[in-house]
């Protein structure tokens, strides 16, 4: 039984009558509602309405949502131009395509079945997405669904939707009303209606959402994309006599919306703008926003701003869906709006434009993300919404490889070049007949038999064809030369694979190898990392909030967002913290998500701290202790280097550059050691390879050593007073101790190697571990010696976790000519997807057992036994 009625909502009820320009069914809409009146009428104050409890006071600023809970978005649908599904729209938003440029106008009145198709498609997507089942046939359909339908456009499609889905709730037509009226109507409906109605479908031009009152959605364990916490709509004065809700906040409508949502401006990290294109109106709207988000209040934190076009009749739902997707998938979207480099309102404001999408991780499981949608139509009417994050994508899917456009691996197994060539030919045939490359790849996991394996790594069917051809041409030459072959794309073949018996070691680089944009797609590939890190107490959220990692500039136009200079290291404590968090996250990817067997680990310099934090059994961080907390790097060992000044009696007014210097020398390590021994204020701090050495100390003595040796060298810009005996041992140990939570020996048997004794750490007591690491920071890092020690214990696979591939290069040089595989999980410009695929390719090519089926099947949850 389908009911299509406009009478289920009271246009003149107590709560409605208090809202000027409130929600009307079209049939009941007063003629004098004057929705087309420009808001800026001289001498006539604008009128606002907002979500609030019917029991609250007259001011919308007064918090009071007791009667009207937040609205949880549990289903969404999109059918706008080329974006015929939610996933396509999400992909466009992430990649920075102007997804919402061609926003269709909201139509009023009957325009026929064809015109209704997008709104019907969007509605059906949203209903399916919300778990409402599927459209029903007339005879054998499911029982009635008590769902209300609000049509903000294409009202005639409402009957079709109700009929196809057996929806028996009221149908309300708000088409022709201002943007946001649909959401407003839904809020009042859910407040006013009996308990048997708890779900509302809102349809607009090319977009639809399904909402429920917050508390009820939560009890059903349903995925919630985001919650709408507040809505404010600005309308013209209604001559009907309805008492308007006054805007009492100094920051206007946007400030009122924040007050209702009980959110402070600095908590809102993203504002989606939907502007009219009229410079005068847009600047007025921006001016209000900049007073709501003042630069002086936010300081360095700043708020990202996004853009979608708007017209009086365009769908605000598209903006809401975009923001809800970003909250759910934990990223700030790229700016896709006009080039505003010259806009003085943005320059100097608290807002910044992101050139590319970037991670946006909630501070903790108990602190949701907050965002706002702010629109200004052609008439200048404004609408403000405040939304907050709810369910994370990572709580639904652990791996999102396809969404991240990650490369596919195809395994070709055989007993020799001839058999491999024959199977490569079969794969080429399959692709030639139109086989999907991802499906072809998945079919190869876990089924192959043979003593040799070629692995193809490709991003598309075409590139897979090319890579197959490349493998084919290299098979025999590689076998003849007994040399492994690796293509630039990551495909590989080894005629002498190391096999699964080689032990796998993780390598933790020094902490000063970070770079702008680090890990930008890590959580997109592996969304499950976020809840996992939250459970472990890892500080993954700090990755997304480091301004030097993801610069926050007023203009994205013409800048080099991915390039920074020395400012990278102005905050070395933060750098160290990010490096540690990043290495911990990648460790989780390799071990927990991809199931790579890790037997041991080693660290370079401060990387030993990352190693212990990532692999030793430990209690979660308490959140209070971090590298941020003191002056270890900024003052004592870095910056003015007070440790040196104190010991050598250097005057305070002496420039920092005259206190300490560091230089990289390209010559034999022992020669350098012998020469340095002749000086009292210069030290060999790092032996990177047998022919690459770093010295540090008094600048004049460093120059003198280089002159004596007459070898190639370059100054090292970043130089801390480390790996020399100057820092006081007990003091250093105490500082490290505050950064290492209580640790105990890894229960999974993982061996941790240290330059303390060039062997395994055998005592896992936080005090002892801190003291040992402190000792390593007072002695030369002899990395070749450490690598040799690890190699002697049977380790053949070295996977560098953390930023960059510095250690990978060093290991390749140290172990040159001996069987080993050294790879980095983080290759700049490749992204996490490309880097991870290359690592998996090399490891599986050599026979390391990896959970490829789980990875390719895109895990919906973490494997059993994971922490």
């Amino acid at each position: 039984m389908v009911k299509v009625s406009a009478n289920h909502i009271r246009p003149t009820g107590a709560s409605l009558s208090s809202r000027a320009g409130g929600v009307y069914a079209n049939a009941a809409k007063p003629e004098d509602s004057r929705d087309d009146m420009p808001f800026a009428i001289p001498g006539v104050p604008p009128v606002t309405s907002g979500y609030r409890s019917p029991h609250s006071g007259p001011s919308p600023v007064a918090p009071g949502w007791e009667g009207c809970p937040r609205l949880d978005i549990i289903g969404m649908g999109c059918a706008v131009g080329p974006f015929t599904s939610l996933d396509r729209m999400e992909s466009a938003v992430y990649s920075g395509q102007p997804a919402l440029v061609h926003t269709p106008d909201r139509a009023i009145g009957e325009k026929g079945e064809e015109h209704n198709r997008p709104v019907i498609a969007a509605a059906e997507q949203a209903l399916e997405d919300a778990g409402c089942g599927r459209p029903c046939a007339s005879q054998d359909g499911p029982s009635d669904r008590r769902i209300a339908v609000i049509m903000a456009a294409e009202a005639s499609a409402g009957a079709t939707i109700c009929s196809r889905w057996n929806l028996t709730g009221p149908v309300i037509d708000v088409s022709g009303q201002v943007a946001g009226a649909g959401i407003e109507a839904a809020q009042h409906l859910l407040c006013d209606q009996p308990a048997d109605l708890d779900t509302v479908l809102i349809c607009d031009a090319g977009a639809a959402i399904v909402i429920r009152p917050g508390a009820r959605a939560a009890t059903g364990q349903r995925r919630v994309y985001a919650s709408i916490d507040a809505l404010m709509i600005q309308r013209p004065v209604s001559p009907s006599g309805c008492r308007p809700a006054e805007t009492s906040s100094a920051t206007g409508l946007a400030g009122d919306a924040l007050a209702i949502a009980r959110v402070r401006p600095e908590q809102v990290e993203y504002v989606e703008l939907a502007l009219s294109g009229s410079p005068r109106l847009d600047e007025a709207a921006l001016s209000e926003l900049t007073s709501t988000w003042p630069a002086e209040l936010l300081g360095d934190r700043r708020t990202a701003i996004g853009w979608s076009p708007a017209s009086e009749r365009s769908s605000i739902l598209l903006s809401v869906i975009k923001v809800a997707l970003c909250l759910h998938h934990s990223y700030l979207p790229a700016w896709t709006g006009p080039q505003w480099a010259e806009r003085p309102l943005l320059d100097g404001s608290a807002f910044y434009l992101a050139e590319k999408s970037r991670p946006w991780v909630r501070p903790s499981a108990h602190e949701p993300l907050h965002a706002a949608v702010s629109t200004a139509g052609e008439s200048g009417r404004r609408v403000h919404l405040v939304l907050s994050g709810a369910t994370l994508r990572g709580e639904v899917a652990c791996v999102d490889w396809t969404r991240a456009d990650g490369p596919t691996l195809l395994l070709i197994d055989g007993d020799g070049p001839d058999e491999l060539a024959e199977r490569i030919g079969r794969a080429q045939d399959a692709l030639g007949k139109g086989a999907d490359q991802r499906r072809l790849g998945r079919s190869s996991y876990g089924t192959g038999k043979g003593s040799r394996r070629a692995v193809v790594c490709a991003e598309s069917a075409d590139s897979m064809q090319r890579e197959l051809e490349a493998v084919l041409t290299r098979l025999r030459s590689s076998a003849r030369a007994s040399a492994e072959w690796v293509s630039p794309a990551g495909s590989c073949y080894s005629p002498s694979p190391i096999g699964p018996d080689g032990r796998v070691a993780l390598v933790f680089p020094g902490m000063l190898t970070v770079y702008p944009g680090l890990g930008s797609d890590l959580c997109r590939c592996f969304p499950g990392l976020i809840p996992l890190a939250e459970a472990r107490g890892d500080r993954i959220a700090r990755l997304s909030r480091a301004g030097w990692l993801y610069p926050r500039r007023g203009s994205a136009v013409g800048g080099h967002e991915g390039v920074a200079g020395e400012e990278l290291f102005l905050d070395p404590s933060s750098v160290a913290e990010v490096a540690t968090s990043y290495a911990a996250a990648q460790t989780q990817v390799l071990r927990t998500v991809l199931g790579i067997p890790v037997h041991g680990a080693l660290g370079y310099s401060l990387g030993e701290i990352s190693m212990v934090c990532s692999l030793a059994d430990r209690a979660p961080y308490d959140g209070g202790k971090s590298f941020h907390d003191d002056d270890l790097f900024t003052d004592w060992l870095g910056g003015p280097k007070r440790a040196v000044r104190q010991l050598w009696g250097v005057a305070d007014h002496t420039p920092d550059k005259a206190v300490w210097a560091s230089r990289i020398l390209f010559t034999d390590a022992q020669t350098v050691r012998d020469q340095v021994a002749r000086y009292d204020r210069v030290f060999v701090t790092h032996v990177n390879t047998h022919n690459e050495v770093i010295i540090a100390g008094h600048p004049e003595q460093c120059r003198s050593v280089v002159k004596d040796l007459d070898c190639p060298s370059i100054p090292s810009t970043i130089s801390y007073v480390l790996h020399c005996p100057l820092p006081e041992a007990a003091q250093l140990a105490e500082r490290i101790r505050t950064r290492i939570p209580s640790v105990s020996q890894p229960t999974d048997g993982v061996e941790l190697f240290s330059t303390h004794n060039y062997d395994r750490i055998d005592v896992f007591d936080a005090e002892r571990v801190s003291a040992q690491i402190a000792e390593t920071l007072r002695a030369t890092v002899d990395f070749p010696r450490l690598v040799e020690a690890v190699y002697q214990r049977g380790y053949r696979y070295f996977i560098e976790v953390g930023p960059g591939k510095t250690c990978t290069r060093l290991i390749e040089e140290v172990l040159a000519g001996r069987p080993h595989v050294a790879v980095s999980i983080d290759r700049r410009a490749s992204g996490s997807a490309g880097s991870t695929a290359r690592v998996l390719s090399r490891l599986t090519g050599h026979g390391v057992l990896v959970n490829l089926p789980g990875w390719a099947g895109e895990l919906s949850s973490l494997p059993r036994g994971s922490s």
């Binding site: 490709a458 991003e459 590139s463 090319r466 890579e467 490349a470 590689s478 030369a481 040399a483 492994e484 072959w485 690796v486 293509s487 630039p488 794309a489 770079y515 702008p516 080099h560 991915g562 390039v563 920074a564 200079g565 020395e566 290291f569 990289i664 390209f666 990177n688 690459e692 190639p712 060298s713 370059i714 100054p715 090292s716 810009t717 970043i718 960059g804 591939k805 510095t806 290069r809 390749e812 290759r827 700049r828 410009a829 490749s830």
Partner: protein, 103 residues
Amino acid sequence: VNVDAADTGGAFDDGAATRQVDGEEVLLAVRRVLSEYLTVDLEDIRPEMRLFELPDVDSMKLMVAGLRFEHEFGVTFEMDNATATRTVAEVADLATRALRGSL
């Protein structure tokens, strides 16, 4: 290990297929990026100079120049310590080969 891009010294190893890249243009681009980050005239970045011989060079400037090159050309370009012993022309040659394989 015989990596197709291994002869690039590990500085460049992205990409799959090949594309047309003008080596002279890449050399000019490398010199331009270096001159920008070393704040010296383009003429002072001569192809035969080793990176460690460049005026006012240091490890950070090399790294940042590498990042800038990556940003402009979309290839992994780790202008690290090891690269410092190569000449500008050698680095440009490595870049050219990497770019040819980066489609």
